[in-house]
Structures are given as structure tokens and as C-alpha cells.
Symmetry: C2
Subunit: 174 residues, 2 copies
């Protein structure tokens, strides 16, 4: 099932892939896919071995005081990616997207639908502000874990929260 899903997402991208099409590729009933994964997002997250589903996590991050939303996002992303087994599938997709056009399209559609649009709507901010916030955290993760710039690569989570949270807070307050 999950290899059928990976095939369909790679071929069609995230937007055009459907639970029905993935079920057909796997030779199973779409109701079964819905039963186990509840949504296309759930299938994608399982197929990519992501450690969490944005639809579950975002409401928790968005709840709580608006004046500390930047801090909550930065701390969540740095904490989640501090565990190699949670970080690796995410970093793998981000790296592949840098060198493969199909993967870049799939990443663009998934993060736009599952993350960026939801947060921008929930906070009533222009989408571009959410995109530069995402770019900041993407850049930090790549420089910390792939390029291994020092002292960034060895910095502890709370030091980075202190530096980065005001940036995210400003982007998400507009």
C-alpha cells in the first residue's frame, strides 16, 4: 500500500493524487485506505515515514497565546528534529526536493496544503509571510544538520529558540 502511495505521489504530485487512485494502484478498496489513514495527508505522512501529521499537530501549536506563537513553532520544530529517527525522513524529502524537480513539486504542494495555507488562514496573515518563516526554519535545519555550520550545528535548542523565536513571531504578526 505505502509503496503504491509513494509511486502515485511521485507521478502525480500531492495535489493530483487521490485516495481512490492510490487504492486502485494498491488493488484495495478506497474505504480501507480511509479507514487506516483517514485522509490523503495521512497516507502521505505514512508513505514518507514522517513522525507526525500536520493536521494533528498544528491545532495544538496554534492554540495558546498568539504573542508566543513564534516560540512554540521554533521549539516544536527543533525538538522534533533533534531525534535522528524523526528528523531523517523529513530531511530526506527536503534534500531530494533540492535536486529533483518532481520531488520539489510534491514538497511544494504538500507543505502548501498541509502546513502553510492552514497556518496563514488560522492567523490571518499573508501567505508570503508564512513562506519566509518556513524558509527560515528550513534554512536553519539544513545548515544545522547537512552543512553543519558551527556553532549552529552544536547549539542547544533553547539558545536557538531565543535567537529565532522573535523572527517567526514578527512574520506571523502582520
Amino acid at each position: 500500500m505505502l509503496s503504491a502511495a509513494r509511486k502515485i505521489f511521485a507521478e502525480k504530485g500531492y495535489d493530483k493524487a487521490t485516495v481512490r487512485g492510490i487504492a486502485a494502484e494498491a488493488g484495495v478498496d478506497p474505504a480501507l485506505v480511509h479507514h487506516y489513514f483517514s485522509s490523503k495527508e495521512g497516507v502521505f505522512v505514512a508513505a514518507m515515514q514522517f513522525p507526525m501529521m500536520p493536521a494533528d499537530v498544528l491545532p495544538k501549536i496554534l492554540a495558546g497565546p498568539r504573542e508566543r506563537i513564534g516560540e512554540r513553532i521554533v521549539r516544536f520544530l527543533l525538538t522534533m528534529t533533534s531525534a535522528p529517527e524523526a528528523r531523517e525522513p523529513i530531511v530526506a524529502l527536503l534534500r531530494t526536493a533540492m535536486v529533483n524537480e518532481q520531488a520539489a513539486g510534491m514538497l511544494r504542494e504538500f507543505i502548501t496544503d498541509a502546513i502553510l495555507t492552514r497556518v496563514a488562514q488560522a492567523l490571518s496573515i499573508p501567505p508570503i509571510r508564512m513562506e519566509v518563516a518556513f524558509a527560515q526554519m528550513f534554512g536553519v535545519l539544513m545548515m544545522r544538520y547537512i552543512v553543519e555550520l558551527e556553532p549552529l550545528a552544536s547549539a542547544d535548542t533553547e539558545e536557538l529558540v531565543e535567537i529565532l523565536a522573535p523572527t517567526l513571531q514578527r512574520y506571523l504578526t502582520a
Copy 2:
């Protein structure tokens, strides 16, 4: 000469490569390499077909009022990368570094020596603040030109300067 330089930089990384070693690989006198490229940085920039040399550009960006340094950096990077022929060699090195460990090491050493350390010293800021500033601009360029997030990919330079300059200004003021 430049293919000899690329070979040496790939094998030894930026820090351990020397003008002498590159000249030996190319079978020419080191004085000739110094004459044409003036420094290891000059050889690297020529070998990678970069559109500019940090040693020439940074003093111009660092001159001028400190309270607008963020704006000058953001505008310079966005303007330079708006021309495909200037952008492509830079984006090519950044992409390769994401998937190739040798290239990641070479990028880390080059940007640390040629850009990050110089700016952090000139402005008397902790290196980590310069690194997250770099991560912000790296992330924006990747999301704009590789992942093509919209509206970020189509936004004009001045709109992005307005959003990003205060972030860089804050990182570089500490």
C-alpha cells in the same frame, strides 16, 4: 587550470586546498595562479563561476550606515540572484551540497572563511547570529527558485526586502 582547481577543492575541501597544490595539479607556477586570481578565494570563485568575489563585495556592503546593513544585504542578494546567469552557479553549489557530503564540507568551509567569519568580525556579532541570517537567505533562495513556493517565487525584490530586512538587521545587531 580551473578544472585542476575544482578537482583539488573537491578532494581536499576549501580549507586544506592551497594555491601551490592547485598550481602543481595544473602543472603551472604558483606565481602565475596568484597573478591571475590573486588568492585561493579568487581561484575558488573562478572555478565555481560565481558572479562576484566576497572579498570585493563585502567591504562595500559593510560600508554605509549600520542601521541599514540588513536592508543592504537582502537587496544585494536578491538583486544578484535575480539574473539567471549569476544565480545558477550559486544555486548549483547549494543544491549539490544538500546531497553530497564532500560538497557540503566545501561549502561549509568556503562560506565560513569567505563570508560568515568576515561579517561577524566586522560587525562584532556572535558567529551564530550570522549563521541564522545566512540560513534565512539560503532558505528564501531555495524556496523561491527551487521549490517555487507562491507567492514567494513571483514576489518582487522590494516586497521581499521589506519583509526580510528587519530580520537580518536584528540578527546583525547584537
